[in-house]
């Protein structure tokens, strides 16, 4: 490069934005999923995440392809349809130090993967679980998924008569400590919440309405860009203050809610509409129920509890990754075998 060019900025681990890039997206032009990918790259860079400490996991679907499009320097596992949560659980068991991003679709999670979704929500892994929610199966050409709203229409006019599954409500119910609903078109909020979710040491569940421009962006869809633009109810102004921010201590947060996250950084939440308390579980469930009826889509942090012990803590495992253990630790001594043999003789 020409010597005159301004040096590109580097983050706290000495990496440039381009070090967080992935391969080129092969999704349809304008797909909501690509907007999410772009903000994940921003958030990972700004949080100075070391790519070697991050792993990406996904199921199957257009959404589940996206880990190929961000942070190529991180390991990635594009697994099978609906089973990403179990693969993530196993990964966490083998290496408790890894931060995980799990990317799934509404079909991948709310249809085929519902069983694994509800169980992983109970576990509290160190993972940001993102559902890129477009109300349809993009990859198999536009069938309804279980998050499609009652009364919404497919491209060729079929109407969904069944109740939608609200993944956020389920996540709250099942004990997930960080639950947000976002709109891929609201990139500012998305980035702040992604940064906070990455800093949170536990499962953060993000249900991101991410329109499918090819199969679900028409009149009658409640997951389209136009619908969301007029029906999103952005509840909060969200900020993220990384622990390394020079003004971290003296910052005046006014009437914002400030919650400290596992890695020392802070999420700030300023209520816009009415004073909604994201620390209340019953409040969260009430909010979601109310808006099923109103048709509006509240976005922001729906629920944020303090951090609680994780799955690996409950299992009482050693502090180092199990994958790093060698034969000297993994194979008990001969006297142990002798003891067992004697007890069976």
């Amino acid at each position: 490069m020409a010597g005159t060019a301004e040096a590109p900025s580097t983050n706290k681990v000495g990496l440039q934005k381009k070090d967080y890039a992935g391969s080129k997206s092969t999704l349809c032009i304008g797909c909501g999923h690509d907007l999410i990918t772009a903000r994940i790259i921003d958030a990972a860079f700004d949080n100075s995440i070391k790519p070697e400490n991050l792993v990406k996991l996904s199921g199957i679907g257009c959404s589940s392809k996206t880990p190929a499009y961000f942070v190529s320097r991180s390991f990635s596992f594009n697994s099978v349809h609906g089973r990403m949560p179990s693969v993530a659980t196993g990964t966490a068991l083998a290496n408790r130090n890894l931060k995980m991003i799990g990317v799934s679709g509404d079909g991948d999670t709310a249809n085929i993967g519902m069983g694994q979704f509800v169980h992983v929500m109970r576990r509290n892994l160190n993972m940001v679980y993102i559902v890129e929610n477009n109300g349809v199966y993009g990859l198999t050409k536009g069938q309804f998924s279980a998050t499609a709203d009652k009364g919404s229409k497919l491209k060729h006019g079929q109407v969904n008569h069944m109740h939608a599954i609200d993944l956020c409500a389920l996540a709250v119910e099942l004990g997930c400590g960080f639950v947000a609903r976002l709109f891929a078109g609201n990139t500012k909020m998305m980035k702040q919440v992604l940064q906070s979710a990455l800093a949170y040491k536990g499962t953060a569940f993000l249900d991101i309405i991410s329109p499918c421009v090819t199969f679900n962006n028409h009149e009658g869809s409640t997951k389209s860009f136009p619908w969301m633009k007029s029906n999103e109810l952005a509840m909060q102004d969200i900020g993220f203050v990384p622990a390394y921010d020079p003004h971290y201590e003296e910052m005046d947060h006014g009437d914002e809610r400030v919650i400290k996250l596992g890695d020392g950084s802070k999420i700030t939440i300023k209520a816009l509409d009415k004073d909604y308390d994201p620390a209340s579980r019953t409040g969260a469930l009430q909010l979601l129920a109310e808006h099923h009826e109103s048709g509006k889509v509240p976005t922001g942090v729906i629920y944020l509890a303090g951090e609680t012990p994780r799955f690996v803590d409950h299992l009482g495992m050693v502090d180092v990754p199990l994958s790093s253990l060698k034969e000297d630790v993994l194979r008990p001594s001969k006297s142990v075998l002798d003891e067992v043999m004697d007890s069976l003789a």
């Binding site: 790519p51 070697e52 400490n53 792993v55 996991l57 880990p67 190929a68 190529s72 320097r73 991180s74 390991f75 990635s76 596992f77 594009n78 697994s79 099978v80 089973r83 949560p85 179990s86 693969v87 993530a88 659980t89 196993g90 990964t91 966490a92 068991l93 083998a94 290496n95 130090n97 890894l98 069983g115 694994q116 169980h119 690996v312 299992l315 009482g316 495992m317 050693v318 502090d319 990754p321 199990l322 994958s323 790093s324 253990l325 034969e327 630790v329 993994l330 194979r331 008990p332 001969k334 142990v336 075998l337 002798d338 067992v340 043999m341 069976l344 003789a345």
Partner: protein
């Protein structure tokens, strides 16, 4: 063996050769009594086996326990029992009815079986009356009534009471209160029999020296130990009979012996189903753990998609299939070798897998560790094929040898290795020509360590590809890997003396086959060479065995001859030589069954 006649029973004695069959109700606590009988015989040095025949039920339904004690070491199941203890009033009529002519019946006096089977030898015992005397506390009677038949049998058949007492204490693991309750009950039964029963049968046991250095163990416990000493670090499971006790034993052993500074060097997780159990293995194996689950046929069916993913994405883990009978729920508490094809070729697309097949607890122990090695060495799912008979029944075994061979963790590049290579590597490149590529663990601190794992087509450098040439060359490499496996999986055990006929068998048919072979030789003048398979894929030795015999019997516990089909498919040029010896009623194989089938086919040959 001639049957003892009720009329002239004492003309001879039969020493250390009996089959004792106890009928009780499930959940009545008879397991302890039966184990005491089994252990006492074992401690007296007599070779034994103990088989549970239990219903899929927690309480109330009939259950049977069969002990075979045999001085010559024949411990396979036998069709007919010599002694039948009828403790279950609901089944006593049937139990008596199905007893062989001349069998000994021991039963509650009021059942009055003497009229029903005048051709049997009868010992009527007033168990209900006796328990009232032996155990004043009404609430405890139910717990100890079964100890009375232990005492009665011990007296009638000449058990060494010292060994019986020792067996109780071992069985009750030193719980003094329970011991103090049970020992007197056994002694009471013994004393009553001595004073009231007149010996009218020829059976007796005597101390011998057949069990030096032996242990008694269930196969599931043996596999669990093998896995622990093989360094298993992530265990996931979903309960299913007959595999549950494997992970329960493993959990118990790991918690006892694999704690470091108060922390666990392992994780045991009960998954929400078998799909999740195997999904967790995929994540854990991928991320560098030695990962394991156990299940049975229905679980294998659920796991199929992820098994295929792991085969294709080349992720190591081990699954033990403790097989049971039938599709669906089938006979969940009976045994079968019915999942051969569904394991060998599990999943969709082109898949085939390494499967190790233990036939004894000692081998289950050794193969537990070896399976972990093979999985990591070949970066692929590896199966241990066990069955209910091996897994849940009690086997006499040689003591296990401490494994001294270092773990084989396979081709893994760490940070230093990547530095040396200047980060130049490709996840699916066949650098060594054996079909096995190099891998890295997630978390490896090197900018070039990461790769993208997927079930979709990929290039040697792990990039997405739908190109026909990439697809085909990758599948060919996987086939090459499988060829390499043929040289490293456990070899068959072969006994060849140049006979024209051969017999192939595997797993838990071993004891019956051993006994049958002796009978075929001594009673029918038929001599056969033997080949016990210990793994899939078949090694060169299997091919040579087929090549060098005119006709080969394949003994297996399923209807369709799945092993024979597999041999036909993998080694088609020998197809005309194979003949099936089949058994598929859910019960373990008997030697007589093998003898009959082989004799009749040899006549027709």
């Amino acid at each position: 063996m001639a049957t003892a006649q009720a009329a002239e029973p004492q003309t001879r004695t039969i020493v250390n050769d009996l089959v004792l069959h106890v009928a009780t109700a499930n959940g009545s606590g008879s397991q302890t009594s039966n184990m005491v009988l089994l252990r006492s015989l074992f401690q007296m040095g007599i070779p034994i086996s103990g088989k549970n025949l239990f219903p899929s039920n927690i309480q109330g339904l009939p259950t049977w326990f069969t002990i075979r004690a045999n001085k010559d070491g024949w411990i396979a199941r036998k069709q007919d029992a010599d002694i039948v203890v009828c403790m279950n009033p609901d089944t006593s009529d049937e139990d008596a009815e199905t007893a062989r002519k001349g069998a000994i019946l021991i039963y509650e006096e009021t059942l009055n079986l003497a009229d029903k089977r005048p051709d049997c030898i009868h010992y009527a015992v007033p168990f209900k009356k006796l328990i009232a005397e032996a155990c004043p506390d009404v609430r405890l009677r139910k717990l100890v009534i079964n100890m009375l038949y232990v005492g009665v049998c011990a007296q009638l058949f000449n058990f060494d009471m010292e060994e019986v007492r020792k067996a109780i204490s071992t069985q009750l693991a030193g719980k003094q209160k329970a011991i103090d309750l049970n020992v007197p009950a056994v002694e009471f039964g013994y004393k009553w029999a001595a004073e009231n029963l007149k010996k009218a049968d020829p059976y007796r046991v005597e101390r011998m020296d057949g069990n030096k250095g032996k242990i008694i163990i269930e196969g599931n416990a043996a596999t669990a130990l093998g896995l622990m000493f093989g360094g298993v670090s992530v265990v996931t499971w979903y309960p299913i009979t007959p595999s549950s006790s494997l992970c329960e034993y493993l959990d118990e052993y790991l918690n006892k012996y694999r704690i470091q500074d108060g922390k666990r060097t392992f994780a045991v997780v009960q998954a929400e189903d078998e799909i999740a159990a195997v999904g967790m293995l995929a994540g854990a194996g991928w991320a560098g753990a030695r990962a394991f689950t156990s299940t049975s046929g229905p679980g294998i069916s659920l796991m199929n998609e992820i098994i295929g993913l792991a085969y294709f994405a080349e992720i190591p883990f081990v699954i033990c299939n403790v097989a049971r009978t039938g599709p669906s729920t089938g006979l969940p508490t009976r045994t079968m070798q019915g999942d051969l094809i569904s394991l060998f070729y599990a999943s969709h697309g082109d898949t085939k897998h390494i499967v190790v097949i233990p036939s004894t607890p000692k081998e289950a122990f050794e193969m537990g560790g070896e399976a972990l090695n093979l999985a990591e060495e070949f970066q692929t799912p590896v199966f241990i094929l066990s069955d209910l008979d091996l897994g849940m029944n009690y086997w006499m075994s040689d003591r296990f040898d401490y494994p001294t061979e270092p773990f084989r963790r396979g081709k893994v590049l760490d940070k230093e290795a990547l530095d040396k290579l200047n980060g130049q590597w490709g996840r699916y490149r066949d650098v060594d020509g054996d079909g096995i590529a190099y891998r890295t663990y997630p978390g490896t601190d090197h900018p070039k360590a990461a790769y993208f794992t997927r079930g979709t087509g990929h290039t040697p450098d792990a990039a997405y590809s739908e190109k026909p040439e990439h697809w085909k060359s990758n599948m060919d490499r996987l086939a090459r890997k499988f060829e390499t496996a043929k040289t490293r999986v456990p070899k068959p055990e072969i006994h060849s003396n140049g006979h024209a006929a051969g017999l192939i068998y595997f797993g838990t048919t071993t004891e019956a086959v051993r006994e049958a072979l002796s009978a075929l030789d001594h009673q029918h003048g038929l001599k056969l060479d033997l080949c016990r398979l210990r793994a899939f894929p078949f090694t060169q030795e299997v091919e040579d065995f087929l090549h060098s015999h005119e006709r080969v019997y394949v003994v297996e516990l399923n209807r369709d001859g799945q092993m024979r089909m597999t041999l036909n498919a993998e080694l088609p040029r020998f197809a005309g030589k194979l003949r099936s010896v089949l058994h598929y009623d859910g019960m373990p194989l008997t030697a007589d069954n093998v003898v009959q089938q082989v004799v009749s086919m040899e006549r027709e040959k």
